[in-house]
């Protein structure tokens, strides 16, 4: 078509798309000559829009006629038979490629999808996959696509054969492998399913197995993967050349060390004469890079270069250290905090803008942000400021999660029966970082109301201030516990002071009055005697508490590292009805023990004593420590372990003496035939939990199942402590930070118990809504 002046443009074949749209993408306009390559670029432009399957230019006199055939649009797209790849991932992938309902359909992207899916399944070892797209034409230039996927079975690994290994047996080498031949746990661990990534990972494990044991010039000679004609069995064979064992002859550190050589040498985990180990070399260079990143060299490079001396079988190792420029942090930008205020995050930051880059401070900040409990995930990434080689911006991406719960509802726990409770707890009220909770709950044996507010940053440096108002009325009689009624009102102010980066002290001063009424004949005699000795029914006390806390946990809801140490001393100060001191200490720690298992050990001890003018009395029983229950020794009802007393009195050779329970907890001729537990002034608890990485729970990120062993008991005084009266129980417990609040269900079986416990045993315990 030779060039001509275009007087008018007409477009044929448009149904869905408006002429205006075509004009915007068209590069030709009326009145100017049309040359051959201009026509060409116009056609290409129209194809670019991916709206047309065919574009041809034609000439009718001086009008340019553009004939287009519109691509059909996709009316319906469904996928069948995909199990390995989840539906919504697949749809997202297809959408990003342009294959979604309402989009224009083009054959090319459908082929690309088919190829992509097939290679995805080959990567997963499913070599018999069939991906068949069916495209059916509909009216009004529309098309329905149905992609049928027949995944087939995975190629099972029948044999892994390592040839040429003299110094180690196949079994030793293959311990770290992810792929294995079918064994008992294969149905769950799927380790006998062949996949290319797993294999390349295993070959690296094989290589490092040797290189970490001195075989410096170990070579992976060849590795073959063969499959059976029916593609259902895979065989993996690798042949290795072990080579000789090398020892390190000399180590040099070259380049600008920025630190005295003595300090840097301490980070080299290899010494002259040691066996060569690649893991140690890599660990040394990582450690050096980490140390340099702590003093501003965020982009430091440390390259180890081993020189092998084949006949003396020694390795001369040189570390080239290139620290690069000292890097400063220009800006810290938070992303994702649409509800939490910027200041709440920024005040946790130990790395300041304008300061030199300090990796330790940044890692510490990540832990502090995770300890807040406001965020599901916290990721801190450094990005270079373009145009400047020594400045970096920190981008902190956080995913917020509701750090509290708005709760109206009915709770149930066996010992408290139906709990009607309403509570608003918000650890991050309106994003200001303050903790506020107001709750009221009523069950058939206790009613309580509680209002508390705490602002952790009253001053910039982190002094916190808070108030707590509480009212509770409980009568344990209806449960199996000691039959007396308490009616307690209290108000306290507390102040938190950080004393180091990890530790904090909390001082609290409070006023409380507690009315106790005991019922003769129903309440254990010991208690009524105690009240008569004191002489007053209501115990007014003002008490001061000092609590020291050291928190190194790496997460608020589901920690896997670190732990918490806590010690608090509460004293009912002189002028209170009964002057006593109450000490409570707790230490716990989390260890990941590999494979997704996390071990958690926890120890608690509580000790109370009267002092001063009241030291002649025992420790007041309403302040007693209790043992047993879902957050204590599981398998026993709440607060039922520890000393138990009968009601009523008998006369023994002339003296009226309270009835004492016999061996299996039975009280002769007293109103209740069972002895009532009243807790004690000394309490011990030990608990070991192993969190299990159950596959089906992996998506709920705050639900964990643990196998636990609890031991503990309460004693009247510390002298009565006796190891073989410690109760032990074991079982399984589910802890889930559900949207409505913390939920705990545990199934426990007492292992070591006494005869008198049999009425207090409780297999299944659960509670929700109360902070565990």
């Amino acid at each position: 078509m030779e060039p001509f002046v275009v007087s008018d443009i007409r477009i044929d074949g448009l149904h869905r798309i408006s002429a205006g749209t075509v004009y915007t993408y068209l590069t030709i306009n009326k009145g100017q000559p049309l040359t051959a390559e201009e026509a060409q670029s116009a056609i290409r432009a129209l194809y670019q829009t991916k709206m047309f399957s065919d574009v041809t230019l034609d000439r009718d006199g001086n009008t340019l006629v553009i004939k287009v055939v519109e691509r059909p649009s996709i009316a319906k797209l469904n996928l069948r038979g995909n199990h390995d790849i989840k539906e919504e991932d697949l749809r997202k992938g297809l959408k990003s490629i342009g294959l979604a309902e309402g989009e224009t359909f083009d054959r090319l992207s459908l082929d690309r999808v088919q190829q992509e899916l097939i290679s995805q399944y080959y990567n997963r070892g499913k070599y018999n996959v069939g991906v068949i797209p069916h495209v059916t034409k509909l009216d009004r230039n529309r098309v329905a696509i149905d992609i049928e996927i027949r995944e087939g079975k995975v190629a099972k690994v029948r044999e892994i054969n390592i040839i040429g290994n003299h110094d180690f047996t196949d079994r030793q080498i293959r311990t770290g492998f992810k792929t294995d031949t079918a064994n008992l746990t294969s149905w769950y661990s799927k380790n006998d399913q062949y996949s290319r990534e797993k294999l390349s990972g295993d070959l690296k494990t094989l290589q490092s197995y040797y290189m970490d044991r001195g075989y410096a010039d170990f070579a992976l000679d060849s590795s073959q993967v063969t499959i059976s004609p029916d593609r259902r069995s895979a065989y993996i064979d690798t042949s290795v050349k072990e080579g000789e064992i090398y020892t390190v002859s000399d180590i040099h550190l070259l380049g600008q060390l920025r630190l005295p050589e003595k300090d840097m040498r301490r980070l080299v985990f290899l010494h002259n004469g040691d066996l060569f180990s690649r893991r140690a070399v890599e660990a040394s260079s990582d450690a050096m890079k980490a140390i340099l990143a702590n003093i501003g060299y965020a982009y430091a490079k440390v390259t180890p270069v081993p020189k092998l001396d084949h006949d003396k079988r020694t390795v001369d190792l040189t570390f080239y250290v290139e620290p690069g420029p000292r890097v400063y942090v220009r800006r810290i930008v938070f992303e994702g905090n649409t509800r939490t205020e910027d200041q709440v995050l920024r005040r946790q930051f130990r790395q300041l803008e304008g300061g030199y880059y300090n990796q330790l401070a940044i890692d510490r900040t990540k832990v502090r942000l995770q300890q807040l409990g406001f965020f599901k995930t916290v990721d801190i990434n450094k990005e270079r400021v373009n145009g400047v080689d020594d400045e970096v911006d920190l981008h902190v991406k956080v995913a917020e999660q509701s750090a509290g719960s708005l709760q109206f509802g009915v709770g149930y726990s066996q010992y408290a029966g139906i709990i009607i409770s309403a509570s608003v707890t918000q650890n991050n009220i309106m994003g200001t970082g303050d903790k506020f909770s107001i709750s009221a709950s009523k069950s058939y044996y206790y009613t309580n109301a509680n209002v508390s507010y705490y602002n952790p940053y009253v001053t910039e440096s982190g002094i916190g201030l808070g108030y707590n108002l509480a009212y509770s009325k409980s009568n344990y009689g209806d449960t199996y516990l000691a039959n007396f009624e308490t009616n307690m009102k209290s108000f306290s102010v507390n102040m938190g002071i950080p004393i180091t980066d990890w530790d904090g002290l909390n001082f609290s001063l409070g006023l409380s009055s507690n009315r106790i009424n005991t019922y003769d004949g129903y309440t254990p005699q010991v208690l009524t005697d105690y009240i008569n000795k004191i002489g007053k029914k209501t115990d007014h006390s003002w008490d001061g508490t000092v609590t020291w806390t050291r928190n190194t946990k790496n997460n608020y809801w589901a920690p896997t590292h670190g732990g918490q140490l806590q010690a608090s001393i509460t004293a009912a100060l002189p002028g209170s009805t009964v002057q006593y001191i109450k000490f409570f200490g707790e230490a716990n720690h989390y260890w990941p023990v590999g494979g997704g298992y996390v071990l958690y050990l926890d120890g608690q001890v509580g000790y109370g004593k009267t002092y001063g003018k009241d030291s002649k009395y025992d420790f007041p029983f309403w302040e007693n420590f209790y043992s047993g229950g879902v957050s204590d020794v599981r398998g026993f009802q709440q607060n039922t372990l520890g000393p138990r007393y009968c009601t009523g009195t008998t006369t023994v050779n002339g003296k009226t003496v309270p009835v004492t329970p016999n061996h299996d907890g039975y009280c002769a001729n007293s109103y209740y035939d069972y002895a009532q537990p009243i807790g004690g002034a000394f309490k011990v608890l030990g608990s070991a939990q192993l969190f299990l990485p159950l596959p089906f729970l992996k998506d709920i990120n705050t639900a964990r199942v643990a196998w636990f062993v609890d031991t503990g008991n309460a004693y009247a005084t510390v002298q009565d402590f006796n190891v073989n009266t410690l109760r032990v129980s074991t079982g399984i417990s589910l802890q889930w930070q559900a949207p409505i609040g913390p939920l705990v269900i545990s199934f426990a079986v007492p292992v070591r118990e006494q005869a008198s416990d049999k009425r207090y045993k409780e297999q299944i315990q659960f509670t929700f809504g109360s902070q565990f």
Partner: protein, 255 residues
């Protein structure tokens, strides 16, 4: 109520009845139902004027139904498919609106705490600013361009106030170089916003605190020239940190 009369099968209705059905739901502010019907309409009748209008109404329904992400992708698809429709300027405007008031939480909006928007992630504000900028660039004389420019100024002031808020934070934490950098960022990027005065004040205050009286005096003179009545000129300790006692009062909103 609206649930039941939707019973007739959406797949049988002709296109105009379907559109009318969706439109009434939109009128009655039953956005979820409207959204469902519009989506069926677009899927069944992708070509023709109804589909175009349905796509725009779908974006609006999703925006009102408080699903900003879906609304954003729907409005983007409208702009891609119908770049020359006569409502496309409204589509750009709606795209800006979606991200406009996204950072204020529901509680804050109900409590009317204006300050909350300047203290949170500015990502969405930046996105809204760029979308409005594109609208005023492409359609300078559209009916929505004027309102878009107003909103751009508002957004720019919000972002400037955010920077000043962070600068004040660093000032109170005695990190003077950080506060100076943030203040300088405002002076360089947000000259026309009213909070440039506060920025200059913080910059002068920071320079004074890091032993640079000459620089501080220079900034003070610039501030005095442009904003003679600024509190910093009279009281060098400005901006003062809220007193501890005020913060100790719960819900005082002063921290």
């Amino acid at each position: 109520c609206s649930m039941f009369h939707k019973r007739e099968n959406l797949d049988a209705l002709p296109v105009d009845k379907l559109y009318a059905n969706a439109h009434t739901s939109l009128e009655m502010a039953d956005y979820a139902a409207a959204e469902r019907v519009y989506q069926r309409l677009i899927a069944r009748f992708p070509s023709g004027p109804y589909a175009m209008q349905a796509q725009l109404d779908l974006a609006y329904a999703q925006y009102k139904d408080n699903q900003p992400d879906d609304a954003y992708s729907s409005v983007n698809r409208y702009i891609k498919n119908y770049p020359t429709s006569k409502h496309v300027d409204y589509a750009y405007y709606l795209r800006g609106l979606i991200n406009f008031d996204r950072t204020t939480g529901i509680l804050e909006r109900w409590l009317g705490r204006a300050k909350s928007q300047i203290r949170r992630d500015q990502g969405y504000n930046l996105q809204a600013f760029d979308d409005f900028a594109e609208l005023s660039r492409r359609f300078p004389d559209s009916a929505y361009a004027a309102d878009a420019r107003q909103r751009m100024i508002y957004l720019r002031n919000i972002m400037a106030q955010f920077e000043v808020y962070v600068a004040a934070f660093y000032l109170h934490n005695k990190a003077y170089i950080a506060s100076a950098d943030r203040a300088q960022y405002v002076v360089e990027h947000y000259q026309q916003s009213p909070s440039v005065a506060d920025a200059l004040a913080i910059l002068a205050h920071s320079y004074a605190k890091i032993g640079q009286p000459a620089l501080s005096k220079q900034i003070r003179s610039v501030l005095a020239l442009n904003y003679p009545k600024h509190p910093y000129l009279k009281d060098p300790g400005w901006p003062h940190d809220t007193s501890v006692w005020l913060r100790a009062i719960p819900f005082s909103g002063h921290n």
